[in-house]
């Protein structure tokens, strides 16, 4: 029960202020279509640079949690999910709003998000120290394979093409080697002076996640889109809360599915929401009403996508393997404060780690309270035209990437990577595996080098890296994630061929 000791650190005026700012900001950013939670958190990182590490992480954690829930606002009022995690919410939420039940749908969404979120954070609280204690015995070969596993899983699950996903991850691993080698100080791949210091992780995160979205916002040119925001009428919050608790089946399925999917690196909120929605529909006696404004659908989807948030941080905090792209960005936030997550996080930085986790628990309640009251305002944010939003994010990205090290080179790197990723995304590549490669590259390299030294003094490299139960299990997981994704890709291609689609 160590986590109970650190609640007092969250309840200080400064921490509560950052928690409030992160929650409100996350709700508004999450409600804005085109701004993903990942990008929202990436843009916030430079602002935390001068903060106390715990407070900086409180801000980022609150923004992460509430931006996932905030995405439901535009899903319900516009049928435009603010983030992929809210796709399933739009199915029934929008139909409810069309029937004049927008307030009820929003209220049920925030209440079920908070319940799912609290369950997810409790799993994080109780599972993380156990896993961290177990992982304390890991050697360099295990940590090397874990880093490779992180890149492999995100590379295969997050991409539409296994080869492109893995290639994106491998490019990230290569980018991580640019600059001075950490052991001998030799310059590697620095074909321009701007790369002398290597590629800054935060600049890369901002570039890879923000720049492609900025350009995508402007793809429509000067066309004016007429967006109709459905009206939010008055509705009793208590009546909605009672109705959420009457949907125990949806709440249970959502929370369990979200928690399990959150623990699987790479799966993410989109899968959690859709799987939970689908399972709840199958078990519901009212399955015919799903898709036509059934509140059970909203409860299932929203409890799942927020229950996913806490468990997605378990592999991050214990093994340094982010469970989702947003968790990868949070890892960037930890790194700039000199906090390196891993098995010894809870012994070396217990205060920061527990304060961060406790703040996420309190953040769930704040998110529900603020969400219920500012949903109306958040819905108005979607009316900000892309012609203003895109330049605003661009300027923020430029200032943010400069602010980290006061280096213009970081801005150049940020823009180059971002523009490159825009074109790569158009041909099916994805930013998340590359980001994972950049973040996990140094972990993989340092453990590979250490492992080689140990291996050369012992039974040799093959025996060190490829034998032993844990090594074999980790290699098998890497291969299984690739094999599974290849099988899914082949199956999808076959289905498309049957339907007369793409070959």
């Amino acid at each position: 029960m160590e986590f109970l000791q650190y609640f007092s650190a969250v309840l200080t005026p400064a921490s509560l202020l950052f928690l409030g700012i992160g929650t409100i900001g996350g709700l508004i950013l999450g409600a804005t279509p085109g701004l993903s939670p990942t990008m929202a958190v990436a843009l916030l990182i430079p602002f935390t640079f001068r903060m106390d590490p715990a407070q900086g992480l409180i801000l980022l954690g609150a923004a992460y949690t509430s931006s996932v829930a905030g995405g439901a606002v535009s899903a319900i009022l516009l049928k435009i999910p603010g983030a992929p995690a809210n796709i399933a919410t739009a199915l029934d939420g929008y139909e409810m709003a069309k029937k004049g039940q927008a307030a009820k749908a929003l209220q049920m969404c925030f209440v079920s998000s908070a319940i799912g979120g609290v369950i997810g954070i409790l799993v994080l609280i109780f599972l993380t120290p156990l896993l961290a204690a177990w992982a304390l015995g890991f050697g360099p070969s295990h940590l090397f394979w874990i880093a490779i596993l992180g890149v492999t899983i995100i590379g295969t699950l997050d991409a539409r093409s296994v080869v492109k996903g893995l290639l994106s991850g491998a490019m990230g691993l290569w980018i991580a080697t640019i600059g001075y080698d950490s052991i001998q100080g030799v310059e590697r791949f620095t074909f321009t002076e701007h790369l002398d210091g290597g590629v800054n992780v935060i600049a890369a995160l901002i570039g890879l996640f923000a720049i492609p979205q900025i350009i995508e916002m402007l793809e429509g040119g000067r066309t004016r889109k007429t967006i109709e925001v459905l009206a939010v009428e008055r509705h009793s919050i208590w009546a909605s809360t009672r109705e959420v608790f009457s949907k125990l089946r949806a709440l249970g399925i959502g929370s369990v599915v979200g928690t399990i999917i959150g623990l699987i690196p790479g799966a993410g909120g989109q899968i959690a929401g859709i799987v939970s929605y689908d399972q709840t529909r199958k078990f519901s006696p009212n399955r015919d009403r799903f898709g036509k404004g059934e509140s059970e659908g909203v409860v299932a989807a929203e409890s799942a996508n927020n229950a996913m948030v806490g468990p997605s941080l378990v592999p991050l905090l214990t093994l340094s393997v982010p469970g989702s792209p947003t968790a990868a960005v949070l890892l960037g936030g930890l790194l700039i404060h000199g906090i390196f997550p891993g098995p010894d996080l809870f012994s070396k930085h217990a205060a920061v780690a527990w304060t961060f986790i406790d703040s996420m628990l309190i953040g769930q309640i704040l998110m529900m309270v603020f969400g219920l009251y500012i949903a109306r305002l958040a819905a108005r944010v979607v009316l900000i035209p892309p012609a203003i939003l895109a330049p605003a994010i661009l300027v923020l990205a430029v200032f943010g990437s400069f602010a980290v090290q006061h280096s213009l080179s970081d801005v150049f790197v940020m823009l180059t990577l971002g523009l490159g990723m825009y074109f790569l995304e158009k041909v099916g590549f994805s930013a998340a595996p590359m980001v994972l490669g950049i973040i996990l590259g140094p972990i993989a390299e340092s453990n590979y080098v250490q492992g080689r030294i140990i291996a050369e003094a012992g039974d040799g490299i093959f025996a060190y890296f490829f034998t032993g139960g844990l090594n074999i299990a980790l290699i098998a997981l890497c291969l299984a994630s690739v094999a599974y994704s290849v099988a899914m890709e082949v199956r999808q291609r076959r289905l498309a061929r049957i339907e007369g689609g793409a070959p």
Partner: protein, 158 residues
Amino acid sequence: MSDQRPAASGLQQIVPAGLVVALALWVTWVSFAVDDPEPYLFPRLVSLVLLALSVALLVRALTGKTLTGAGLDGRTLKNVAPAIAVTLLYVFVLADLVGFYAASTAAFFTLVTLYDPAPHDEIETWLKRLAVTVGFMAVIAVLFTLVLKVQVPRGVLF
């Protein structure tokens, strides 16, 4: 994340695949053509993986088996080209030359003007765009200069 429609043409798959193969070849060559291999042990490993995957991608692109991604059509490219040009000019030339704030103000105002669907022949819309630019840049100045104390390049203007 872009949508999942099939890519527009095979050429849009072949060209990037070819570029990635070229990058992989360069990384492999640099990693193996060094006197002291120690700093390049890990890059060598990565370069071989990169090379194998990029060749696999090129083969798939040439045989028409990789069709993921929405592709880029002429109209989209025409729409985004001005934004990309302004952004490149802003970051690579103006930011250091005229100063971060001057360059950002100019880039913000230019992009808003280029993509604002409101008519360009009405004084009110110009004033509105100007007001939004000044307001936003004021917020940025307060945030970065006063709150975060970030010293940005000044250049010849500000």
